[in-house]
């Protein structure tokens, strides 16, 4: 079994007949980190997880755990353990016997087996339910059993396939914190597949955003959120207004971009050339409502009609429509908004600083994504 739990994926491709599930993936996950594979359904994140676990054999490429290639190594001998989305508890075995299953397979005697399983159950606070059958447990309890059954194998890498998706909101937040806690406590690598952006941002040291079998960006949560590499990442993570245009003028410290829809934008200067096509965006919370006279010193202004106002407690989400152009969302701090409130149908102008504009690569394919999570 590998001593270290760093996972290196080299040029991994997996095809199912003519369908490509993941294509030429390169990824290094450091030892002891909490990594989230994030993407919409069908993006290949679960396939990648199953390849690491050994439940799928990659068509091409290599997987190294702790510096050792594990291709061809059986699932149970890679130092990995997988927690299934369905929990996959053995319905004919008690909670204790479920947890002790791997020890039984190794031929550990009954007394020691039960003792060690009991210890792990205590860790997930399920020891009072040791003699129940899985069907008698709630979803949250079943998940803890699945976690205990994985932890008892002393994995270097714990693989979690959408572990929180079957839980209700309250349990999800509780379990999410607990998973992170256990990961820090054990110091092992966690690879967690999810399609929920806030989940990934909240717990991961490393977020890997995937789309149609490719990695769009692999970085820390703040980097992914604040510096999305592509328009896909910005739109999938949500919280961004994304635009495209052509560079029309270059000044000393900024460039002017003519938007595809006849708007003018100002971006920080960064080696652009006139005529070059650029994709860029601004975070919703960097967009402000211009009060009275337009504050042009912020660099960018756009006018439109207020389409919707959603009060969210400490902030207000304002959606602005602009005749046959892309709509724009501003997330405004509650005090700032209520100092100068608007109502649906009002004509407003929004502004943002050119320094808050981020240039990004264009997404690989035409994506229909809803970045409405925030």
């Amino acid at each position: 079994m590998a001593e270290r739990g760093d996972v290196e994926i080299r040029g991994v491709t997996k095809r199912f007949g003519p369908t490509v599930a993941v294509e030429d993936i390169d990824l290094t996950i450091p030892d002891g980190s909490y990594c989230c594979l994030l993407g919409p359904s069908g993006c290949g994140k679960t396939t990648l997880l199953r390849i690491i676990a050994g439940h799928e054999v990659p068509t091409e490429g290599d997987v190294l755990i702790g510096g050792e290639s594990v291709i061809g190594k059986p699932t149970g001998q890679r130092g990995t353990s997988m927690m299934f989305q369905s929990y996959a508890l053995f319905p004919h075995l008690t909670v204790l016997d479920n947890v002790a299953f791997s020890l039984k397979m190794k031929g550990v005697n009954k007394g020691e087996r039960r003792e060690r399983a009991y210890e792990v159950l205590q860790r997930v606070q399920l020891d009072p339910l040791a003699d129940r059958m899985p069907a008698q447990l709630s979803g949250g309890q079943q998940q803890r059993v699945a976690l205990a059954r994985s932890l008892i194998t002393n994995p270097k890498v714990l693989l979690l396939d959408e572990p929180l998706s079957a839980l209700d909101e309250f349990l999800r937040l509780q379990m999410r914190a607990e998973l992170k806690h256990i990961q820090i406590d054990l110091g092992i690598t966690f690879i967690h597949v999810t399609h929920t952006q806030p989940e990934a941002l909240a717990i991961a040291d490393m977020v890997v955003v995937m789309d149609t079998g490719h990695i769009e960006q692999a970085a820390t949560g703040p980097e992914i959120y604040d510096e999305p590499r592509t328009t896909y990442v910005a739109e999938f993570m949500g919280g961004w207004n994304v635009f495209a245009g052509k560079v029309s003028g270059i000044e000393s410290n900024q460039v002017t971009v003519a938007g595809a829809e006849g708007d003018q934008f100002h971006l920080p200067r960064d080696g652009h050339e006139v005529g070059q096509e650029v994709n860029f965006g601004v975070r919703r919370d960097k967009v402000h409502l211009a009060s009275g006279e337009v504050e042009t010193d912020r660099g960018n202004t756009l006018g439109g009609t207020v389409h919707a106002i959603e009060y969210q407690g400490n902030w207000v989400k304002l959606t602005m429509t602009r005749e046959e152009k892309r709509e724009l969302v501003a997330v405004i701090e509650d005090r700032e908004y209520f100092a100068n409130p608007t109502k649906v149908g009002d004509q407003v102008t929004v502004t943002w600083a050119s320094d808050d504009v981020r240039v990004m690569e264009r997404a690989r394919g035409a994506q229909n994504l809803i970045g409405e999570t925030f």
Partner: protein
């Protein structure tokens, strides 16, 4: 109208269960009662004497050595048939469920297993004759290849022929419930077992077989009932060399000895119920129904 509605609502439950109740009364409980009554009527050696109540049929049955021999023979045939149909049925069901990927292939092969049931039981037995007979296909082949100079005698009119026919027909009754329970096993369980370091054999022993228990039990109940109640295969294929409970009972029926035959039937029924009860005690079948 209102009065009718009131009656309907008062007896709604009774009315809802009545079709099943009536069917069971007429076709199961009624006939059993009739058999019990006849088994208690005297048989004077030539004919039954209606209304002459006696336990003599049971006393005679239990005092004959032949009865014990018949039961031992039946139990032996049941044990061997159960063992072989379980292994075959499990293997076939496993192949259909886990080795085949396409649902269409699975269903097609499953249907193929049902083909023998398109004809009557007697024809299925008779169909073995040209295969197993002295001048049958197998013996001709055996002699042509030179394995033996004389025809193999054990093939037909023997215990072997009866087993062959039992296994051919009853394997399906073992396979179908096993197929049903196996198809319901969540594939994640097998992967989870692999993840926990289980080998192929360990997955079979600790995951698949335990989860197949209800199917094994239902299949075993089917096979028990079928073997215990068969007399056509015995009659056609055994060459009068095999004496089972059913064989002797059918002889009594042919000889119009209804009271002893009825007593024998009641004892056999209790024996089969005993076996079924033991199977049900071992496995909770209700989980899969």
């Amino acid at each position: 109208m209102a009065a009718i509605n009131a009656i309907f609502s008062r007896y709604a439950t009774a009315l809802q269960i009545s079709p099943l109740l009536i069917t069971l009364l007429f076709f199961l409980i009624g006939p059993v009662i009739v058999i019990v009554i006849i088994s208690l009527w005297n048989f004077n050696g030539f004919m039954m004497v209606e209304g002459d109540w006696t336990f003599s049929n049971y006393i005679k049955l239990f005092s004959k050595n032949l009865t014990l021999d018949n039961y031992l023979q039946t139990l032996k045939m049941l044990a061997i048939t159960l063992a072989i149909t379980t292994v075959l049925g499990f293997t076939l069901a496993y192949f259909l469920v886990f080795d085949l990927i396409q649902l269409r292939t699975k269903l097609l092969l499953f249907l193929l297993c049902v083909v023998p049931f398109w004809t009557s039981g007697v024809i299925r037995m008779v169909a073995w004759l040209p295969f197993l007979g002295k001048e049958g296909i197998i013996n001709q082949a055996v002699m042509a290849v030179g394995i033996s100079d004389t025809p193999l005698e054990f093939l037909l009119f023997s215990e072997f022929a009866v087993f062959l026919s039992y296994i051919q027909i009853f394997t399906l009754f073992m396979m179908a419930p096993l197929f049903n329970v196996m198809a319901r096993i969540n594939r994640d369980l097998i992967e989870a077992a692999k993840d926990n370091g289980a080998s192929g054999l360990q997955i079979l022993m600790h995951v698949i077989i335990p989860l197949c228990k209800p199917g094994l039990a239902i299949g075993a109940i089917f096979v028990t009932a079928l073997v215990a109640s068969d007399f056509t295969a015995i009659r056609i294929l055994s060459g009068a060399q095999v004496g089972t409970v059913m064989a002797s009972m059918s002889n009594q029926i042919y000889n119009v000895q209804y009271p002893p035959a009825s007593a024998s039937a009641i004892v056999l029924l209790l024996a089969v119920l005993l076996i079924v009860g033991m199977i049900m005690r071992l496995v909770d079948v209700r989980k899969q129904l």
